[in-house]
Amino acid sequence: MDFSLSADQTMIKDSVDRFVADAYSFDARTRLADSEEGFSREHWRTFAGLGWLGIAFPEDRGGFGGTAVETMILMEAFGKGLVLEPFVPTVVLGGSALAFGGTSNAHRELLERLIEGELLLSLAYAESGSRYDPSIVETRARREGSDLVIDGAKIGVPFGAAADKLVVSVRTKGERHDAHGITLVLVDRDAPGLSRRDYRTVDGQRASDLRFAGVRVPADAILAEVDEGLPLLERVLDYGLGALAAEAVGLMTVMQRTTLAYLKTREQFGVPIGSFQALQHRAVDMLIQLELARSICYYGTVALLEDGDARARSKALSATKVQIARSGRYVGQQAIQLHGGIGMSEEYAVGHYFKRMSMLELALGDVDYHLHRFVALGRQSAEKPQATETKKLVTAGVA
């Protein structure tokens, strides 16, 4: 075990830190957030050119053979800059679904296009009646010949308007709660019968709600196996949780640093407000929460590196999200409070970090959801130890 970065990882960190410093001043970020798509296609080409889009995928899938550690390095820097490009929806969620669930050469080629920056993806799993639980799926797909025909609706699809293809969870069998009978399919953005409502989210990002009215997809749009998409979906979401944790660490780092600087410079009663013990202890608790968040982020990343037993992995990523969310809530709320009125101002950066952190708390499941999942997975493991079978999901059929 070694917490220091390798030479390659240091290079990645230096290059992404430089990108954020050059391209993501607060003003530049504000302009991008206000632009039509809410992110920059030019930046996306930069990401592709620097190899970031393929960094964590295996070499036999066209990637560069990195791991969740490289994703963590990138995401922390993206958090520090409040970066808007759809890296999580396209690479971490959509890309992982293709890498882990791809079954054909066509899927392999899609991943290559993604890595080259030519394909944007997103993941549509949440529904208005499912909250955060991916096993609750009411969007139905019925078979017609070898095609699937989809009816239903999805909500909160990140950067859905920009996505060329969507990874969609649909029910192909059973009732709304059944773990079996869920299938992941790829749907084109302009498929007949698919409609979208796009909106700007409260934290400056973009999202869409989707409606499927008889949307027809061919058999080769299916990822993993028919009816057995849930283990793949859970795995993809766990990778998403790992990435969000690192982004949160970046957000918290900036909020902690900015607040500390403010405590040292803002004067009231003739002295810097950081000389008051009541505020000093809050500042210390912010630092403690940041350190706990960073530590659990490593823990979650380890679980993704090992990725053997699916329950152990998911339990670890639920733990990660719980701690990240609790720490993030404390750091964010104190950042606003210790800044006083200026923290409430839209023109000042700290409020935007707070808003992103606040919504990241909910993304892919909030504290309540993940505490519940952590406990449930712990009980299952106690009852019935599970063999390491999930790795086999990694695409037998790819040439």
């Binding site: 917490f3 220091s4 823990y299």
Partner: protein, 380 residues
């Protein structure tokens, strides 16, 4: 960056686990599981087995009888000791006075005291706090006056853990009252069989006898028992406190408390369902378990930093704060989990809760730790 355990580290874990399984006396293990107090003989018996294996003082340099373990191996060792229900390390000799002697003592002191710690001939206790000097430790009043080739020590030390088992005490005493309060303090080793040393028990709110008051009345101590330089004791005291704080976080011990808590909750049954099957209670436990997991990784990171840079430094304050808050959350849940059985002292459930209120007070209260971090890490 490689965040997984290597094959060698996994093998080491298995080796430690096997050692504990083979060597820990069944009677001691049973007391640990039941939460009963251990006798001095229980501790000494275990220390001697560890010493025979060369594992009693892992943090010492190899030439004094330590190990060459990596920080990760030390962490694994602590974890396995806790999970295996082994008695906790009594830190006062191995982790407190010994590092000070190794860093600041002379060769005679090293040759005399270090082997006696390893052989369990000496049991050390810590003479820091006084009735009038708690958080403001540097205000201490115990005097050590030079009298020929002796110091004459007078004063009262308090909150001294397991002084009733000890034959040696390291004392912070004022050798020069004329200079500023941090500057006139010296670090002196005192044989407790010297005339004038008396130990009075202090019973704590859990009914236990862990701590004591030690009176020093005209105690004559040879000057060769001074560690380092006269008047430099405050520097050594701070050095020791930083070592102490990493230890008082009790991260590995909290995994033991967590198992115990789950055991208590599992035994509480209503209509055939245990408290562990109750989602609300299970999630309360889970929340603390998750924070403990985060802290254990934080401690690994701190150990790795220590490896790179020497002394643990102020980060150990953060580990101490969070570690003791977690101990208190776990024991609070233990009291809750027991329900009516917690009223019975035989279950220990509420007694542990009472006892662990100490954790946020000792080794520098958590408020003092926050002051230290604010000043030394945040620069406020």
């Amino acid at each position: 960056m490689d965040l997984t355990f290597t094959a060698q580290e996994r093998a080491f874990r298995a080796e430690v686990r096997a050692f504990i399984a083979a060597e820990l006396p069944a009677a001691v293990r049973a007391k640990m599981v039941a939460g009963d107090e251990l006798s001095k003989e229980d501790y000494v018996a275990w220390q001697q087995r560890l010493n025979a294996r060369g594992w009693l003082a892992p943090n010492w340099p190899v030439k004094y009888g330590g190990t060459d373990w990596s920080v990760v191996e030390k962490h694994i060792f602590d974890e396995e000791m806790a999970l295996g229900n082994a008695p906790r390390q009594i830190p006062f000799g191995i982790s407190m006075v010994a590092p000070v002697i190794i860093a600041f003592g002379n060769e005679e002191q090293k040759a005399r005291y270090l082997p006696r710690i390893l052989s369990s001939e000496d049991w050390w206790c810590q003479g820091y706090s006084e009735p009038g000097s708690g958080s403001d430790l540097a205000s201490l009043q115990t005097r050590a006056e030079r009298d020929g080739d002796h110091y004459l020590i007078n004063g009262t030390k308090t909150w001294i853990t397991l002084a009733q088992y000890a034959n040696m005490i390291f004392v912070l005493a004022r050798t020069d009252p004329s200079v500023s309060k941090q500057k006139g303090i010296s670090f002196i080793l005192v044989d407790m069989t010297t005339p004038g040393v008396t130990v009075r028990p202090i019973v704590t709110i859990d009914g236990g006898h862990e701590i004591n008051e030690v009176h020093l009345e005209n105690v004559r101590v040879p000057v060769e028992n001074l560690v380092g330089k006269e008047g430099e004791g405050w520097t050594y005291a701070k050095f020791l406190l930083e070592h102490e704080r990493n230890g008082t976080a009790g991260v590995a011990g909290s995994f033991q408390l967590l198992e115990r808590l789950k055991h208590v909750a599992a035994e509480q049954k209503t209509d055939g369902r245990s408290l562990l099957d109750d989602d609300r209670f299970a999630e309360k436990i889970a929340q603390v378990e998750i924070e403990l997991t985060a802290l254990s990784y934080a401690q690994l990171r701190s150990l790795a930093a220590e490896k790179a840079g020497a002394s643990p430094g102020p980060e150990s304050s953060f580990i101490k704060i969070t570690g003791t808050e977690i101990q208190q959350s776990l024991t609070e849940l233990m009291r809750d989990a027991g329900g009516y059985t917690s009223f019975d002292p035989a279950t220990h459930n509420a007694l542990w809760y009472f006892n662990f209120r100490k954790a946020s007070i000792y080794a520098g209260s958590n408020e003092i730790q926050r002051n230290i971090i604010a000043k030394r890490i945040l620069g406020l």
